[in-house]
């Protein structure tokens, strides 16, 4: 059944989408480095996914305020201490709240964030499948002739006949 197959493949697509959002933490070996040896690019790669409450909706790597400048220094410092990206994000979330992260961490009410859109879309798919199914079924009773489906010529003729009576 092609409809069910499609439904299934959609579910697969959305579950994969889910896992990619969640499974993005890696473990790195801790080693300390000289802060000066850490390039701007390394800092920016992490800063790209951090948001400072002072300038809402502007990612940290392009924000020009002094607060953001200080935040980037912190990223550099933490990198020098051998922290990995996940640890640094964790640190910022603890220090400044979850709004410092680019996406809400999946816990508590935030699960709604990730669950509602796929559920809504799957619901839409289900409804569409149902609708298709019922549309494919021919009408149970022979539908009476709809007046709309008459051509103007026929209508004219009927009206004339009515008038003649």
């Amino acid at each position: 059944m092609s409809a069910r197959l499609r439904l299934f493949s959609w579910i697969v697509v959305w579950i994969t989408f889910f896992l990619t959002i969640l499974g993005s933490s890696e473990i790195a070996l801790a080693q300390t480095r000289d802060p000066n040896s850490i390039s701007d690019d390394e800092v920016n790669a992490i800063a790209k996914y951090l948001y400072c409450p002072v300038c809402e909706n502007v990612p940290l790597d392009v924000c020009g305020t002094q607060a953001c400048e200080q935040w980037r220094q912190v990223v550099r410092q933490k990198l020098a201490e051998g922290w990995n990206e996940a640890q640094i994000r964790q640190y910022f979330a603890e220090q400044y709240g979850d709004r410092a992260l680019a996406t809400p961490p999946p816990r508590g009410i935030n699960w709604l964030m990730y669950i509602v859109p796929p559920v809504a879309i799957l619901l839409g798919v289900w409804m569409l499948v149902q609708a298709f199914r019922s549309w494919k079924r021919p009408p149970a009773t022979a539908a009476p002739l709809q007046p709309e489906s008459l051509s103007p010529e026929v209508l004219k003729r009927i009206e004339e006949e009515l008038r003649q009576r």
Partner: protein
């Protein structure tokens, strides 16, 4: 909203089509479609309404009790505002990157030293969206001795709904907010003129 209408309408669409197909179950099944649609629209309006209300509210109002919080100072001491009843409390939100904060820093510290001995007044500095080394450097630069601590998770500032820094909240002995200063204090005399009336027996 979009999803709401979309969903509910598809429910309806599907139902009407089913009715067409079977013709046996009329209006009864159509009932919960509209109810769902209304429910979703109303939920959305409530969310928007509450959100709007919050944004319109501004900061905590004078005459209302303040939201209590726990501050862990840079020295590692834990201070609970709920434990400070019976004392006048001055809560100052600041950040090291904030230029106007520097204008009032020295005055705040002088005021604190004049009240410190009496033990009737407590000053608390809440460090907003800042980094620890910079914040410590700032405290050192202005020789600030009253307790200061970071606003972990920006919880305190969100509870007070501050708009920026500096903002200062003066609370009386009963935990009721008596005065709000948006922006820096202009002088030492101004700080005193706010606190002294609260100290009258």
């Amino acid at each position: 909203m979009a999803s709401a209408k979309n969903k509910s309408s598809q429910v309806l669409m599907e139902q009407t089509s089913q009715e067409q197909g079977t013709t046996s179950k009329p209006a009864v099944r159509l009932r919960w479609g509209p109810i769902l649609a209304w429910l979703i629209v109303i939920t959305l309006l409530v969310i928007l309404g509450v959100g709007l209300l919050r944004s319109q509210q501004g900061s905590v109002n004078v005459g209302e009790p303040i939201p209590h919080f726990t501050l862990t100072t840079f020295e590692g001491k834990t201070i609970r505002t709920a434990d400070l009843k019976g004392k006048v409390l001055l809560i100052n939100f600041w950040a090291s990157w904030c230029k106007p904060c520097e204008q009032e820093a020295a005055d705040l510290e002088t005021a604190w030293r004049s009240y410190q001995a009496s033990g009737e007044v407590i000053f608390l500095g809440v460090n907003y969206v800042d980094t620890e080394p910079e914040a410590r450097a700032y405290l050192e630069k202005f020789a600030i001795t009253y307790p200061n601590g970071p606003d972990l998770g920006t919880r305190i500032s969100q509870a007070f709904r501050i708009r920026g820094v500096p903002e200062t909240y003066v609370v009386d002995q009963n935990g009721v907010l008596q005065f709000v200063q948006i922006g820096p204090f202009r002088s030492l005399a101004q700080i005193k003129s706010v606190i002294d009336p609260l100290l009258q027996p």
